[in-house]
């Protein structure tokens, strides 16, 4: 099973549960850190709930929720990721080499999610501290009710970006096709350029921070105000 520190798992043989039990059962101080998952066959919930500093490479396209609830692990997906990749991630890294379906990084608390291709609708919905870097574009309702963290979009953003947003920061290089309720363009200050440069570097992007625009909350919908009833 193990060759030069690299352990292989075949999903067609072990099944999703077999793979997850193996990866979840590893001690935090395990020496068996490098894992390769073959034949993911678009199955759901691959490599979820990991809680150790592992490095997991998934070769192929995955179904829903891959890398969900991740803590500390680096999970690299060599293919497309289905709905809710890295949902509720706590820390660590999930890197999608292809495109991703809707709700990527949903409710993520921490860690970094990189999508080399496009993400679909609702990317970063209700994000709570995760950083997300998308090499392509994101679909409509991205960063809906986003509370904390950074969403970096190197392409365009779909309709209603940042609807009902709290304190997350949104950086878009291309066009934002409409901002959601209470989401406004904000000044790009030195500290934002610095943060953005670090995020782009971590995601191995070549874009220049000064080419992005920043969006965030106007903070008018935090508490119910009858004068804003139409905006809720």
């Amino acid at each position: 099973m193990s060759t030069q520190g690299l352990s292989e798992l075949d999903l067609q043989k072990a099944g999703v549960r077999g793979i997850n039990q193996t990866l979840q059962g590893l001690a935090k101080n395990t020496n068996q850190r490098h894992w390769l998952v073959r034949n993911p066959m678009g199955q759901h919930a691959i490599a979820v709930g990991l809680d150790a500093p592992l490095h997991v490479e998934v070769h192929g396209h995955v179904g829903f929720y891959c890398g969900g609830m991740n803590k500390e692990s680096e999970i690299i997906i060599h293919g497309h990721a289905g709905v809710g990749v890295a949902e509720n991630m706590m820390s660590g890294l999930v890197w999608v080499k292809g495109n991703a379906s809707e709700s990527a990084g949903a409710t993520g608390n921490g860690g970094l999610l990189v999508i080399d291709g496009d993400a679909s609708s609702r990317c970063g919905i209700s994000m709570k501290g995760i950083d997300i870097v998308v090499g392509g574009s994101v679909g409509h309702m991205s960063a809906f009710m986003a509370q904390r963290g950074n969403l970096v979009v190197c392409g365009d953003a779909g309709e209603a970006l940042g609807d009902s947003i709290y304190e997350a920061r949104l950086y878009v290089k291309g066009k934002a096709h409409g901002l959601g309720a209470d989401c406004i363009e904000k000044e790009m200050r030195a500290e934002h350029l610095e943060d953005l440069a670090k995020l782009l570097e971590r995601a191995k992007r070549k874009e220049r921070p000064q080419d992005f625009r920043r969006y965030g909350s106007a903070r008018k919908l935090y508490n119910f105000d009858v004068d804003h009833a139409d905006a809720y």
């Binding site: 066959m41 678009g42 192929g60 396209h61 179904g63 293919g79 289905g82 496009d118």
Partner: protein
Amino acid sequence: MCGIVGLYLKNPKLKPKLGKMFKPMIIEMTNRGPDSAGVAVYRNPVKKNETKFSLAHNDPAFDWKKIDTGLEKALKCDCKVAKIGNHCILVTTAKEKPVVEWLAKHYPDVRVVGSGHTIEIFKETGLPANVYDKFNLDEAQGTHIIGHTRMATESAVTTAGSHPFATGADLCLVHNGSLSNHNRLRENLRREGMEFQTENDTEVAAAYMTWKLRSGASLRETLEDSLRDLDGFYTFLVGTHDGFAVVRDPIACKHAVIAETDDYVAMATEYRAIAHLPGADDAKIWEPEPTKIYTWGGNA
């Protein structure tokens, strides 16, 4: 829930394998829709002066020969029938309208599930694997095929409430989602002369599209109008004589994924249905955008 799947072959060399390639796709969607399954396969085009009907009867022992001889006598036409499960493929030189009228008058229990030059529709309650075997779809050859696995929500589990629904000559619809304005729309369409066999929401969408197409709209115009007039959430897959079209509602919360290689275009509710196809690992894969009409085969 529900699962929808479509496969369009770009490489004609794969045509003999269409049914075999499609089988694991639809079976993979069983847990999204174990109540009933249906398939529309485009194969064996008939001559220009002929029409092909897909007919169904609840009694698997129904004698289709009676339809053959009865129609030939009444409409002075040539007919051929081939029984497949509790369905029958009828090829006739008669025009569509008199055939449908004759069937309604003499054999009201016979359901017309599809018609055209190439389309054949088979659908039945039960697990997709059983339905697939029943209609011997493993052996299906052709250019494209679409299918549906149903988890019934808006109406009863019946064969008539199964997808695909015919929407005109060589056209059919499968649907993942549910419509919220189907009762009102059904009443409006009844006033326009459309007839309904079930209380099913997708049948209303199909009738709406049939009505639009009959009034002269193109497939693209029909789908654009559907986006305006059909309220609810849906991913539609529409089979046409030479390909298929995919469209999603503006919110697009019903899943959909498309994969394309040099050999084929595949569409499914979830990628795992596509994962069984040869070369899927290297396919270009993306989620279709809301309200954007995707077509293959150039028919729209």
